[in-house]
Structures are given as C-alpha cells and as structure tokens.
C-alpha cells in the first residue's frame, strides 16, 4: 500500500477542537483588530473576547476528556494528563490576561495585538502538552516561544523591555537549537520521531545507545531553559524585571507549566528506558535550582526580580518529583504546579496593583506599612507569602510535603534534605516581605481602587491557599488520574 492512498482520509478533529477553536479565534480577532477603529475600546473588547474563547476552549478540554486518544497519525495525544495540564495553562492564561487589560490601559500601552499573541502562545502551550512526536513537540514549543519573545519586548519604547525581549530571543533561540540538535540525534539513532515508536525502540535494545542518550540530554537542556532551571536560568531575572508586569505574570506561570508538562511526558514516555541516566541530570537541575533560588533572592530589592528567583526555586522543588521518576513523584509534581499557580496568581495580582500616585512601583520597600493602609491586601499577601515559604497548614506546605515524601520513599534523601534546608533559607525573604508590611512605617499608600479582576483573583487565590487543607481530595484525585495516564499498568 502506498502512503498517499492510505492518508487521504481526514484525521479526527475532535481531540484538537480546543486548539482549533483558539486558532480560529485568534485569526478572527486579528482581523477584527486590524479593521476595527483603532482606540482604547477595541483592544479591551478583543481582550475580553480572547478570555471568553479561552474559557470555552477550557470547557471543550474538560468535556473531551476520556482515555488516550491520538490523532493526526499519532502526532497529537489527549489523555487525562493533557487535560489536567491544559486546564492549568488555560486558567493561568485567561486570568493573567484578564488582570492585564486594565493595567495596560492605565499605562497607555494597550494594543489589540497583545491578547492575540497571548492566545497564540496559549495554543502553542496546549500543543506542547499534547505533543506525541518530536516534530510536533518542537513546533508547539516554537509557536509558544515566538509569541513570548514578542510580548516580552511588547513595550517597545521602554529600553529595559526591549533589552528583555532581545535577551530572551537570543538565548531562547540557542536553547531551541540545542533541543533540535538533540532531537536529530535521537531520530538518527532510533529512526523514529513518534513517542510511542521511540519508547518501543529504546526499550527494545538492552542498553540505549550513546547517541540516543546524548540526544535526550540535549532535549532536556532545551526544555530546562524554558523552565529556567539552573544552570539555564540566566535570562530569567532580567526578563522578568524588564518586561511589563502582566507579561511577567504570564511568563511565571503558563510557559513553565507547559514546559514542565512536556518534560514529564518526554521523560516518562519515550525516554523511560533510560531513566537511570536522566534521573541524575534532573536531580542536579533540581538541587542547583533550589539552592540558587534560595540564596540569590536574599539581596533583591525589586519584587519582580525576587519573584524570578522564587520561581527558579519553585521549579527546583517541582523537579524533585520528576527526578524520583515514579507515580508518587509525578503526582507530587502536579500538585506542586497547581498550588504554585494559585499562589503566584495572587502575588502577581498584588504586583499589578502596586501603583503610587499613578506611577508604577516595583520595590519591595514600597510595600512598607501596607498593613496600616490596606489591611485586607496585606493580610492576603501575608497568607500567600507564608504559603510560599511552606508554613503549615497553608497550601504551599502540602505541595512541598508531597514532593519530599516522594523523594524520601525512593531513598533520595539528599534531595529531600537540600529541599528542606533551602526552603528554610527562602523563608527568610518571604517573611521579610511580611515584616516590611507589618512592622515598617508606611511611606506612601497604593492607589485605590483595585480593578475588579485583580481583586477577585487575589481573594480567590488567598481563599484557596488558606482553605486547601480542609478539603484536598478534588485536586489529589484529578492529579492521580492524570498521573495514571502516564504510567499505564
């Protein structure tokens, strides 16, 4: 049978419906933006439509959840794992977009392309999560990265934003190159690009060949860059500080979740046969990220920079779950990512509302005396900071608990010990923020009123962080189902 005849039938479109909808929405909104009258209202309306489409796409993701379905000749897969991750990505994308619209209006830099690029980036991330082939993986990653490079430099009249965009672009392309190089090695030594075929061919040989291992290592490095795991973190503080605050919020959440999902799928799927090799690498990445995230953040004065180092540290903790390499570990990772998402949404809601007399502020010192001027906001931020530091009974404690338990059960004591020690160190800078808010004299108050989206996000995230310990089963059950999809049998 020739391929031409075999492939003429139309692929099954049902599994790709959420992505398909988002692409069509982005194209339609692009047309609307280009032909509608330029103005304040247009970009806001398009932003709201983008949020709406993300919500609908999220509903489609949920309603389509079933067993493992592959389509497009096995290039695209949906399973419980992809559903879980896609929901996290869509939540972070739509909430940050919702919060950023009023911010961009206030700064007078709102343009209709911003929500559209966020939409395209989100589509890229969904494709990454569902990739079941090396080429599909790379293309999803590149669609995501290209959109992110542009929105990093979005505020083009600001020299720091353009520098951030440039830096991210140059280093990101290098990482993409490394990833492609690794993918070509893997293809060269196995003759496969599809994940299922790769898994079979790598498990078939009694020892995975040297070339395939080196290829896998390069792929891990490329993904570690997107995750900003140490030693591939150099770009993170500069980009987070330089980019506009809503962009930073988006960067800290969705791309990391997508890259982590892809890394988990690649390592536990096709490369599971060489787990011994990649476990060491992931372990080193995890330890280095935790240590750097804890110590480098100690002297920061800019809150966005602080969040950059904090996110590096959090990536390290999440990677503990992956380096364990079994079901409990990945379960811990999923719980960790979910709680990380909730906490960061709250913190960035506050960063987005740091504005004094109409001027943006980013210094940690600007928070001083917040407890006197805005007690509710200070209380919410205090809860979030306690949670980030991992103080029981807040949500952040449980997320760390699960990954540490996974490490201890697999006798990876070093990882657990480093994790506990670094979280003690990092507690210093989280608690310092609380001290500044509660015990320093207020200098200047923040402008009220908060925009509705920001206030709602802050309230929701602090309620979840405070109340998670009362009823954790919903999250745990979903995460368990998602993990089970990766480890059949």
């Amino acid at each position: 049978m020739t391929w031409g005849l075999m492939m003429t039938e139309l692929p099954d479109f049902l599994p790709v419906l959420p992505e398909f909808l988002l692409i069509c929405a982005a194209l339609g909104l692009l047309m609307a933006g280009a032909f509608l009258r330029e103005g304040k209202a247009a970009s806001d309306v398009i932003g709201l439509w983008a949020v709406l489409f993300m919500t609908v796409s999220g509903l489609l993701v949920v309603s389509g959840s079933g067993g493992n379905i592959t389509t497009f000749n096995g290039m695209f897969i949906t399973d419980h794992f992809s559903v879980f991750m896609k929901i996290l990505i869509l939540v972070s994308g739509s909430v940050t977009l919702m919060m950023s619209l009023p911010w961009l209006q206030d700064e007078r830099i709102s343009k209709f392309e911003f929500p559209i690029l966020v939409l395209f980036a989100t589509v890229g991330m969904l494709m990454m999560v569902s990739a079941n082939d090396l080429m599909a993986m790379y293309l999803g990653l590149e669609l995501q990265s290209l959109s992110l490079y542009v929105i990093a430099a979005y505020h083009r009249d600001n020299s720091r934003a353009t520098e951030a965009g440039m830096k991210y672009f140059v280093l990101g392309s290098l990482a993409s190159g490394l990833l492609l190089f690794g993918a070509s090695f893997v293809y060269g030594f196995t003759g496969q690009t599809e994940f299922d075929g790769l898994a079979k061919s790598l498990a078939g040989v009694d020892k995975a060949s040297m070339g395939a291992i080196i290829g896998a290592v390069f792929i891990i490095f490329g993904l570690a860059f997107k995750l900003s795991a140490v030693p591939f973190h150099m770009w993170t503080p500069d980009v987070y500080e330089g980019a506009p605050a809503p962009v930073t919020a988006f960067f800290a959440l969705a791309p990391k979740i997508a890259a982590m999902a892809l890394l988990v799928r690649v390592l536990t799927g096709p490369f599971m046969a060489m787990a011994e090799q990649w476990q060491q690498i992931v372990m080193i990445l995890a330890m280095a990220s935790m240590i750097l995230g804890a110590f480098a953040a100690l002297n920061q004065t800019n809150i966005k920079r602080l969040m950059a180092y904090s996110s590096i540290g959090h990536v390290g903790y999440a990677l503990i779950g992956l380096s364990v390499g079994n079901m409990i570990g990945v379960l811990g990772l999923l719980v960790y990512l979910t709680i990380y998402l909730v906490m960061n949404l709250g913190v960035f809601a506050i960063i987005l509302s740091m504005r004094q007399k109409g001027r943006l502020t980013e210094g940690i010192e600007d928070l001083s005396g917040l407890a006197k001027t805005q007690p509710l906001m200070a209380a919410a931020l205090a809860a979030l900071m306690f949670s980030m530091a991992g103080i029981p009974p807040l949500a952040g404690f449980f997320s760390k608990l699960y990954v540490f338990i996974a490490a201890i059960e697999s006798q990876m004591y070093v990882l657990a010990i480093v994790g506990v020690l670094t979280s003690v160190v990092s507690a210093f800078y989280y608690l310092r923020i609380i001290k500044i808010m509660y015990f320093d004299e207020p200098v200047e108050t923040f402008d009220k009123p908060l925009s509705r989206a920001v206030a709602l996000t802050l309230a929701a995230s602090s309620i979840v962080v405070l109340g998670f310990f009362l009823y954790p089963p919903p999250l745990l059950m979903q995460a368990e189902e998602a993990t089970a999809a990766l480890f059949p049998g």
């Binding site: 020739t2 494709m127 293309l139 669609l143 290209l146 003759g191």
Partner: protein
Amino acid sequence: MHYIMFYIFATIAIISSIRVITARNPVHSVLFLILVFCNVAGLFLLLGAEFLAMVLIIVYAGAVAVLFLFVVMMLDINIVPLREGFLSYLPIGGLIGMILLVELVMVTAGWVIPTGNLLATTTHDLPNTAALTNTEELGKVLYTRYVYQFQTAGIALLVAMIGAILLTLRSRSGVRRQSVTRQLVRTKANSLELKKVQTRGGV
C-alpha cells in the same frame, strides 16, 4: 568519483567556514558563508537529497545570506571592537567546545551500523527508493501525514509576522500615502477646470 567530489566539497566547506569567523571584513564573512552553503548543498546532492540541496541554495544562499549582506552593508559594522575580549573568553569557550567535540567523536565512533535488523526495527513499510524522487515523496507526505506540523509551522510564521509588525510599525503623521478610493472617486468634473485665457493676458 563520489569520493573525490566529497573531499573537494568537504574541504572547501571547512576552509570557508573557518574564514567566516576569521575574516576581518564582515562582507567577506558573509560571502564565505554563502560559499559554505553552496558546498554543503553539493554534499547533499552526493547523498541523493536533491530537494534539500535546492532548498539550501534557495533559502539560505538566496534569501538569508543576501539579507545578512544587506544588514552588514547598511549598518557598517566594525568588527574589531567586537573581537575585544575574545582572548579572555577563549579558555572557557574552548573548554566547552572541546567537551562537545569529544562527546560527538565518542558518539560517532561508537556508532555501529546494525546489519539486517535495521529493517526489522522500522515500523513503516520502506518505499522502493530507485523509482522515487525526494521531492515527490516529500510532496506526498507533507500535506497528508504531516499536515499537523505543516499547519503549526504556518501559524508560527504568522506569529513572526505579527511580531515584526507590532515591534516596528509606527504610525507617523504627515506621510503621503496612496489612497485608491480617493483616486477612484476623483472625476473630471471636480479636478479639471477649463479657463479662458485672454490672449497676451497671462493666467
């Protein structure tokens, strides 16, 4: 014959790629880069990958390198200050390069081409290579088997285009643009005026 051609192409490619990074004049660097592309295209031809060879010439030598040349000539880059600090970065850069080189040598040296069981491990049915051409085969699978990748690549290119416009387009006032509508609604009646000019009277 194949071997001779291979060594000719390979030697010129290596020499000119060294010249790309050592040439003092950036224009010469770009010209050497084009030479590298042409020689690599020759290598592809020897391997029987005629489609890749042509794409390399058209896309890289034809478009990318010419673009480079354009930028280099327009910006008048002085390469000497860029070279400063080259020696201080040399040890660490050289070390990393050496490690990479050793790794690659180890990989290729340890690569044993399996005899026989290569056919057993591939899942696809192998086409009859003698009867088919590269381009035809690519055409058969590009829009069918790999339609997902093809479409995604298209969207990525669209994003690049949006990005380029977003980051560079500035709306300036006082620019005279062609307005087709205005040109079309212009009629003889509202643009042409006949005046009787008196003889020797002037306008």
